[in-house]
Structure formats: C-alpha cells, structure tokens
C-alpha cells in the first residue's frame, strides 16, 4: 500500500533496487538448491522450518524494513549518526561479557532464539558516523589530525572485531579507507598499502634471496632510468634507496617476525595454505595445543577450499543446471548455505552463471559510485562510498575465498548468504543509501 505513496517513490533509484531484488532472489534460490530435499515445495516454504523458507521470510522482513526506512526523513540519519556510533561501540563492548560462542566466533549475543552480531550491525553506524565526521564543516581532511580521527573512528570497531575473532569483519572496516581516499587521503597511503600487500604476498611465495635480488634489480633499474634527474632532484635517489632498504627490510625481517611472533600459528598456516605453501611446524616455538589447533584447522580449511574449488570447477562452462550439482546438493561443501553459497551458482550455472553474478555485483558497485558522485551533500556521498566499500570488501573476500584466492575467512556474500542479520544489515545499508539519494538535492550535514 505504501509503495503507491508518491512520497516514497519519488527520486528512488530503481536500478539499485532492481539489482538488490535480483541478488536476494538468486540467494534464496541458491539456498533452496543447496538444501532442498524431497519434501513438498509448498510445504517447505510454508513450514518456515527449512533454510530456504527462513531466508525467504528474512527477505520479506527486509523489504518491509526497507520500505520503512524509505519513509524516514533523511535528516534523522545525520542527526543520529554520532549517537548510533556510540551505541554501536557500546553494543560491541557488551559482547565481551555476554557473548555466546558459536562456531569459534565470540561476536554473538543471544536473546533466546534471536542472535545478534553487533560487529555486523555496527557497519551501518560506522558508515554513518564516518560520513557525518567527514561532512562536518570544521573538518579539513587534508589535515593529519582529522585524518587520524577518521582512521580512529574506523579502527576502533575493527580492533574490537579482531578481539571477537571476527577477522573478516575487521577487514571490512579497513575498506572504509577507500572512502577516506575519495575524500582526500593522500594517494601515497593507498599506494603504500597496496605495495605492502604485494610485498608480503611475494615474500610468502618467493625464495627470500630471489626476492631480495628482484628488489635490488628493480632499484638499480630505477636508478638507471632516473639517472639524469638526480642532478636536479637529489631527493629522488634517496627515496629509491630508502624504498629498497624498507622493502628488503620488510621481506627479510618484518614479515618473518610478524609470522613467528605476532600471528598465531593457525593463522599463519591459513595464509600459507592460500598461497599454496606448506607451513613448517617449528615445535620449539609452539605449544602442543597450538599444534593440535593448527592441525584441526588445517584439515577443516583445506577441506573446505578443496571442496569449494571442486564444486565450482566441476561446473564447467555452462554448469550442471539448477539442482543438478552433485557437490552442492550432497553436502560436500561445508557451510554451503552461508559462506560458500557462491559454489551453488558456480556448480549449477558454470562460468556463464558465475560471471553474470559477478557482473551484477560490479554493476551495483558502479551504480553506487555513480549515485555517490551526484550527491550534493558530502554526507550522502561519503555514505554511498562507504556502502560501496563494504559490499566490495565482502564480495572480494567471500568469492576470493571460495575460489581459493583469499584465506578462508568466514564472511557472508552480500544479499545471498543464508542468515538474517547479514541480510537485514545489507538491506538497511542500501535502503538508507536509496533514501539519501532520493534527497540528493538537499544539503545534509
């Protein structure tokens, strides 16, 4: 009934809503394909006991909630942004005394049958608060102080999430740096960040001496290329030499120290497994419990990724067809409905289906960036970039994990994975964006 209200419909971006509806539908269908057994379909949906019927119910609830959000005045979001952030952090802190441990994560509070994961929910609040801070008139994002405050806003929940064993969600909070980059964070930060990632991965993959050789060769090549500039610009030579020293230092000392002293053995092992290397156990530095824990995890994670790759790989070009996937139908892939839902699409619809799904996500992200850039208010723009960053990091980590490019990190695929909290969170994120976009001519602060 409310859908006909011209107040709601005006200015709404139908493209985003269409992609959203498509993705959630594909998600429900995939969960159905993975978990449907021989029961009557109608009964299965009506009973609300099957996973796919529950997800369908969450879909309905999400849409109602979405419509409800579209009815809210946009000013409410700016007004409550800081408050909600504080509330979110408080919720995150409440987790420590009141959490219930479920499948190795310590991030869930349980009220009866209802489970709440504040770290998941908090993404909305952090996004709002960051947008609010960046859009304040007194904020000059070219100042280091403001950059540090913005980073702290993002890093606080990330650190709390790490303490709750939710590495995946912590990584998602890091994606807010994309928003800060858009708002003027120096490119150097991004370049250095990406370079560091490349260097660390290269350190894991390559022989230390070979890598040192390559780095030296690169440095010498740079010096040779810029040899004529040195006379005019003395500093360039020092920058190149400095880069070389830092790089070699990182690959020679920092990474080994990080892996041996800072990270837990099972974490190291997981990272090694992703790049396809065996982690050699050093019995002297590890306790027996560590070794056992690592062995258990190794079995589980390598099995998960192997099964996931088999499922996706066996899909071939056209896929086996809906419900015909032998791997996803018969529980070979663990966490089939939740974190590994992409396998169902990969096996059932093959390369074509997977590529189309990825295209939908890319289209959504591009559309959100487009929406962001047409906002009059900085708040809305920052918020939109935040939504894009969150969705992007989720898709990257989740699909990267299922195809074996990223370590196994439990994190849902936006709109598709089974789970009420995740679906509601993403729906709310997107609904607020659509609501803000409808008021794109307003100047919100």
């Amino acid at each position: 009934m409310r859908g006909r209200n011209p107040e709601i419909a005006r200015g709404v971006d139908w493209a985003v809503i269409a992609i959203y509806l498509m993705l959630v539908s594909i998600g429900v269908m995939s969960i159905f394909a993975a978990t449907y057994r021989d029961e009557s379909i109608l009964q299965g949906f009506l009973s609300l006991k099957t996973d796919y019927s529950k997800q369908a119910l969450f879909f309905v609830i999400s849409m109602v909630l979405g419509v409800f959000i579209l009815l809210i005045d946009s000013k409410l979001f700016t007004a409550t942004a800081n408050l909600s952030y504080v509330a979110g952090i408080l919720l995150l802190l409440l987790v420590f005394p009141f959490h219930t441990e479920v499948k190795g994560t310590k991030s869930i509070i349980r009220f009866g049958t209802f489970q709440l994961q504040p770290a998941e929910l908090c993404k909305i609040f952090v996004n709002l608060a960051l947008a609010k801070y960046l859009s304040q008139l007194e904020t000059d994002f070219h100042r280091l102080k403001d950059q540090l405050i913005a980073s702290a806003l993002v890093l606080l929940p990330a650190i709390l999430a790490i303490f709750q064993s939710e590495t995946g969600l912590a990584l998602v909070y890091f994606s807010f740096f994309l928003v800060m980059y858009r708002e003027g964070l120096p490119s150097v930060v991004l370049v250095v960040g990406i370079s560091l990632m490349v260097l660390v991965i290269a350190t894991l993959l390559l022989d230390p001496n070979l890598l040192a050789g390559i780095l030296t060769a690169l440095a010498l090549a740079a010096i040779y290329l810029f040899r004529k500039s040195f006379r005019r610009n003395r500093g360039l030579l020092f920058i190149i030499i400095g880069c070389w020293v830092v790089s070699v230092g990182i690959q020679r000392f920092a990474v080994p120290i990080l892996f041996e002293k800072v990270l837990k053995p099972y974490q190291v092992q997981r990272i090694y497994a992703t790049v396809g290397r065996d982690f050699v156990v050093d019995p002297e530095t590890m306790t027996e419990e560590d070794i056992r824990k690592m062995e258990d995890r190794k079995k589980a994670t390598t099995y998960n990724v192997k099964q996931s790759k088999i499922a996706i790989g066996s899909g071939g070009f056209l896929g086996k067809g809906l419900m015909k996937g032998t791997q996803t139908r018969y529980d070979f892939v663990p966490e089939q409905r939740t974190d590994f839902i992409f396998c169902t699409v990969g096996e059932g619809f093959g390369f074509i289906g997977s590529a189309v799904l990825l295209m939908l996500y890319l289209l959504l992200l591009m559309r959100i960036v487009q929406i962001a850039e047409r906002q009059r208010s900085t708040f809305s723009r920052c918020y939109a970039y935040g939504v894009a960053s969150v969705i992007f990091s989720h898709v990257l980590i989740n699909i990267g994990m299922t195809v074996g490019l990223v370590p196994v990190i439990g994190i849902p695929l936006p709109f598709m994975s089974y789970g009420g909290t995740a679906l509601l969170t993403f729906t709310v994120l997107l609904a607020i964006l659509v609501r803000l976009d409808a008021d794109r001519l307003m100047n919100l602060r």
Binding site: R182, I310, I312, G313, F317, T326, L358
Partner: protein, 709 residues
C-alpha cells in the same frame, strides 16, 4: 577540485574493475581450464559399484549340477564402531551372553584388527537373519549383515576336479593387471581356475550418487551409464557323477587314483584321487581351518594323484612295449620267447611269475601271462635294432615312441598343474653310467620299472590309444559351454585328433587280443564281467621309500588298466592303489566295478557287496597312518577348545586358542629323499613340493627299481 575528485572516483572504480576481472579470470581458470575438477567431483559424489554376476554352474553328462551357487548370510562386526550399539538386543537375538560376546569381539580384533570387518556370526539361519534385519538400525554401524555367494556341492564329490574359489591376493591382482579387485573371488584351482574366464561371467557396473558421508542417495543420471552383469556360462562335462561318487568311495581310505575316459572323445568320465575330501569343507567360514588341516595331513588329500601322482607303471606298460616292437618290425604277433622263469640275458636274473609251458609262445600269450622275460627281450630288440647303430640312437627312437603315447609329456587336460611323469633321456643315462651303457642297463623299462614313471591319467590315455587303435583326443572334462562367446577357443584344442605314429591296426588288434586274454584267462580274471568283453592289463609296481632315513622297499602298488567293450570301446580306465599289492587284488576289482556300472548303468546285487567290501578296506601305509592319527587327535583337541570358547567357557582355558598353538612334536616319519641322481625329477608317488608341503618335512619319495610283475 572537480578534476581531482574525478580522478579519485576513477581510481576507485578502477580498483573495483581490476578485482572483478581477477575474480573472473580465476573462475575461467577453475571452470574452463581445469578439467580435473570434474573428475574430482565424480570421485566425490559418484559411487561405482561392481555388480557381481552369478558364477557358471558345472553339470555332469546327465545334466545334473555338480555344484550350485547359494547365498550365505553373515553378521559382520566392525570393532571400532561399537559405540552406541544396542548390545543387549543383539545378544538376545543371537542367544549368547555377554562373556561370549566379549570373547568373540576379542577374537575378531585379534583376527582382523579394529578397523576391518570380521565375521561375527557365520551362516545365519533365515529366522535369525530376518530378526536381525528388522532391528539392524539399533546395531549399526558396529554390526552389519552381509550376503555372500558360495559354492555348494550336492554330491560332496569331485573336489579335485572342480577346485575351489577364493579371494584374490596381491600377486593375482598384479598378474592380471588389476582386472580383479581386492575382495573379488576367483577360481584358484581345478576347473574353477581353468575355466575362470567362462565361469566368472561379466561384471556389471552401477553408478550411484553418494553424499558427503558416503551414503547412497540415488542412481546417477538415472542409471544411464550402468552396465548389466552377465551371468557366468555353465559348463557341460563328460563326468558321470554316479561313477565319480562310487570311485571316490573306493578311495576314501586309500591312497591312489582312478581315471576313466571315453576313448572316442577323450572325455573324462570320472577322476578320483585318494584320499578324497568333501569340497564343501573348503567353502564357508571354516575354509581356512580345514584348508590348513588338509595341508598338514600326511596322506595329502589336496594332492590330485590322478594327474600329479607319479608311479612306476609296472606291467601295465607292456602293451606299449609290444606296440613299439611290432611297429619297428622287430617282432610279429607270432613271435615267441622261451622263458624259463627268469630273464637271464643281462646277468642278474629278472624273475618271471611263470615258467615254461609256452606261456610266452606268442605275443598274445605273453601279454595274457605278463611274461617279464618276453617284454625285457623285445625292449632290448627295439633299442638294439641294427639300423640305429647303437643303443643310444635306438633309445632315442624308443623314447620318441613313448612320448607319442603320451608318456613323459604333459597331455594338457583342462586342469591346471598336471605333471608329466618321467621317461629318462640318453643324457640321463650318460650321466648315470658315465657315458658307457647298453640295453641291459635300462632293460627294466620293458616292464615298466626303472627310470620311468607315469600318472594315472597317462595310463588311462594309453588305454584310449589302444582302444582306438592308434589315436587319442586330449583328455578333458568339458564337452561344451552353454551360450556363445569369444572364450570358445578354449575348447578347440580338445577336438583335435592325435595320431600315434603309424603303427598298423593289425599290431593293435594283436595287442587287444592279448589284453582280452588277460581278462578271459590271464592275471585279471577277477575283473571279468559277464556279457562284456574287456581288455585289460594288471600291474604290480615295486617301489621304495625312505622311512626314518633308511631306504626301504614298500608294499607294491596295485595297478590295473583296461578298456571295454573290446570291439567298440566306450570306457578306458586306469586304477592305481598305492601299496596294495598285486594288481588284481584291489585295483582290478575297482576298475571292473566302474566299467560295469558305466556300461550297464547299474550293478548286480552281488557286485554291490563287492563295492562295500572294497570301500570299507583301508589301505594306508602304517607310517602314514600313525602320523595321521596323531594330527587327528590334535585337531580334536583344538576343536574341543574352540567349542569351549564358543559356548562361553569362563575358566580361561579357551583363551589358549588365540595365543597358544598346540605344538606338534616331530613324528618319526618319512623324510624327503634327495634323489641320488642329479637333475632327476621327483618320482613315484612322491610329492611335488607345493606351498603347503613345505610346511612339514614329511613326504615320500618312492624309488622304482627291481622287477616284479
């Protein structure tokens, strides 16, 4: 700074694009460039199960099945999966108590370990099986039911012929290039082995979908790729089970063998080796124990003496000597020899059972009276014949004759591991006599002693040649195979006629008449059957064994070979009874009864008594019997101990079973004689060392020397 922001927007969009391109490339690699994932998915989710066809049945000549396929139902235990099993319920159904349950569990773990299934209760009755099946969910996965096809033998006979089936071992797996798989059964001996490709049928394959816990969830692609199993093909044999059963009765308590062949086809009517055993003993749960018991039996029931027993043929070989001499033209049927009771031409006299009276006035008489002098003489005439220029060349010719009669060569019947007997070659004599020897040195060959042994099969085949007047078909069991298949070439070689040199029919006629006289008024009169003209030859073969380190002369082997009716031969028989004395005493009556039963299809009443008399007579050397009895008592003790353990004896004695083996003290017995002649194969009734026989050092080597007829 719109340009500035414009570029940042582009950078962010670029990052998105690059990451998605990387993901799509990765998907391309996984889904299109890596076909191995499809294989792995199949391995994961598709269960390939072999559907075993029924093995072919073997029928006798009257169309009665000699063996059948039946299912045995077993309760299996998987010791590492016992948690949560309703043991009390299981005990109630099986009717055993906890103490016995524990003992059986321990026994199972000792036998196969914790992770492999072991038979917990074999041969379940139908009632128990049904009860267990109903409530199996309470006992899984620690227990499960299993049906296994086994062979049963309604006649309890023909064990040596049929052989047995057993699980393939790793050697067979490798040799067959993994055509068989672990756990498959295949024929391991006898006809089961020889006709394995025919009997086994064609295995079917069925593809089924399974889930992550290996539970079958349905057919794969609706069975599109399944292939059906094709049942094994049946064998129709020449065997006459009534004859076979009777023959085995005779040899239940004797050592020796009988072979009966249909001369016109080479089809084997009966083949028994004494002592016999019930083939049902080598199926089912007791198979292993029974097998090892039989292996350790001094009388060696597993040894098929009909094709592997090597005996000096004695006088039964005389017709062959006569045929050779006739063919070489050194004698005519009218040729006579003045025997004065011994052959003295070679120094030490060779005794003859007759003296004077013209008992060797012609070939016919000499055969009928089995004159040793006559056959020694014609043997020497054969090898010393002038045109050969020396005994060595003459002997080579004689040996060729013997080989063409099937002596000293493998006949190639359709059973594995036939032995070829022994006919010495000139090289053998050169070594034995350092190059200087003459026809006197091996004159015993003329009367079937000396450097010569033959299997009962070879002697029966020799009778076929004489009955057929100069040809034979390779002896074989299988007449035809039901259905059609590429394996049919397996039977082709049995249809080929083997002509034996160019000996004239007249020569055969003369020999046949002589052999008829043997029955009518010669040494084999006991074998006479009213209304049937039989041609026969008795043999009484001297043999030696080494008992407790001393070479001793043993009781003579009793030989009898015959065919009947003489004019139109339908059956040729060779019988040897070890250490039973004169050929006419035991071997003759046995052959006679077999011929009568086969030709008349029945026995007259007074002859039935004869059957009982022979069947109940035990003829086993005392030294072998002692050893046997000792082993028997040990077995009884073990069986009782087992009985105690099964019925739940709680005094602890039963545990001796699994740990303490009853030690068998070495009995005074017969030790293996290492033949004094280098390179000489084992002779006489001696064993060919097989795996089983290595287990104990008791065996007999019989040496054949001296003369007697």
């Amino acid at each position: 700074m719109p340009l500035y922001h414009q570029s940042r927007q582009t950078v962010i969009q670029g990052i998105f694009l690059v990451v998605f391109v990387i993901l799509i490339i990765r998907l391309f690699v996984l889904q299109i460039l890596s076909p191995q994932y499809q294989m792995q998915a199949m391995d994961n989710a598709v269960y390939r199960s072999i559907v075993y066809p029924d093995r072919g049945i073997i029928f006798d000549r009257k169309g009665k099945p000699i063996l059948e396929n039946t299912l045995t139902r077993e309760l299996m235990i998987l010791p590492n999966q016992l948690r949560g099993v309703d043991t009390a319920g299981l005990l109630a159904i099986l009717g055993i108590d906890t103490a016995e349950f524990r003992q059986r569990l321990v026994a199972a773990i000792v036998k196969n370990g914790r992770y492999r299934p072991t038979v917990f209760e074999p041969s379940l009755t139908i009632e128990k099986f049904v009860k267990l099946q109903e409530s199996m969910f309470r006992f899984e996965p620690g227990f499960f039911l299993q049906e296994r096809p086994i062979r049963t033998y309604p006649y309890r006979a023909a064990a040596h012929i049929l052989g047995y089936i057993g699980e393939v071992d790793s050697t067979i797996l490798r040799r067959t290039n993994f055509f068989y798989q672990m756990g498959d059964y295949m024929g391991l001996s006898g006809l089961e082995r020889y006709y394995e490709p025919v009997l086994m049928g064609q295995r079917g394959v069925s593809y089924q979908l399974k889930d992550n816990r290996n539970r079958i969830v349905g057919a794969f692609e609706n069975g599109k790729y399944d292939t059906a199993a094709k049942a094994g093909r049946n064998l129709r044999t020449y065997l006459d089970m009534e004859i076979q059963v009777m023959a085995e009765r005779f040899f239940a308590n004797k050592l020796g063998a009988v072979v009966a062949i249909e001369p016109s086809t080479g089809g084997i009517i009966a083949m028994a080796s004494g002592p016999t055993y019930d083939p049902n003993q080598l199926t089912g749960p007791q198979r292993r124990r029974n097998f090892s018991w039989m292996l350790s039996d001094t009388a060696r029931p597993l040894f098929n003496r009909a094709i592997k027993g090597q005996y000096p043929p004695g006088s039964t070989v005389k017709p062959m000597g006569a045929l050779i001499a006739l063919d070489q033209g050194v004698i005519s049927p009218e040729y006579g020899y003045g025997c004065g009771g011994a052959y003295v031409a070679c120094g030490r006299p060779i005794r003859c059972s007759h003296a004077g009276g013209g008992h060797a006035a012609n070939l016919r008489n000499a055969l009928a009276n089995s004159c040793n002098s006559y056959f020694c003489h014609i043997y020497r005439m054969s090898v010393d014949k002038g045109q050969f220029g020396g005994v060595a060349n003459g002997y080579v010719r004689w040996q060729q004759y013997a080989n063409s009669f099937g002596m000293g060569v493998r006949l190639g019947l359709d059973l594995p591991s036939e032995d070829k007997g022994f006919i010495a070659d000139t090289g053998f004599y050169n070594r034995m006599y350092r190059g200087v020897w003459n026809s006197c040195n091996n004159v015993f060959l003329g009367i079937g002693q000396g450097e010569m042994t033959a299997t009962p099969l070879q002697m029966a085949n020799l009778m076929c040649i004489i009955a057929n007047k100069g040809f034979f078909y390779t002896p074989h069991f299988v007449e035809h195979i039901d259905g059609r298949g590429i394996e049919d070439t397996i039977l082709q070689r049995f249809g080929r006629k083997h002509e034996v040199t160019r000996i004239s029919r007249d020569a055969y006629e003369a020999v046949q008449l002589g052999m008829q006289d043997v029955v009518d008024h010669g040494t084999a009169w006991v074998a006479r059957i009213d209304g049937i003209t039989m041609a026969a030859k008795t043999g009484t073969a001297e043999n030696y064994g080494i008992i407790n380190g001393k070479r001793e002369k043993l009781e003579d082997h009793s030989w009898f070979v015959c065919f009947a009716p003489r004019e139109n031969p339908k059956i040729a028989v060779a019988v040897v009874v070890e250490n039973a004395g004169f050929g006419a005493t035991w071997a003759g009556p046995i052959a006679s009864l077999i011929v009568e039963k086969y030709l008349n299809d029945t026995l007259r009443t007074h002859r039935l008594k004869e059957v009982e008399r022979i069947a109940s007579k035990e003829i086993i050397l005392p030294v072998i019997r002692q050893k046997r009895q000792r082993l028997d008592s040990i077995r009884r003790a073990r069986a009782e101990a087992l009985e105690r353990s099964v019925t739940g004896n709680r005094d602890g004695r039963a545990t001796d079973l699994s740990t303490g083996r009853v030690k068998v003290p070495p009995a005074p017995g017969i030790v293996h004689d290492v033949s004094k002649h280098a390179g000489r194969p084992a002779q006489g009734g001696g064993p060919v060392p097989t795996e089983g026989h290595r287990l104990h050092k008791v065996a007999i080597i019989r040496k054949d020397e001296g003369t007697k007829s």
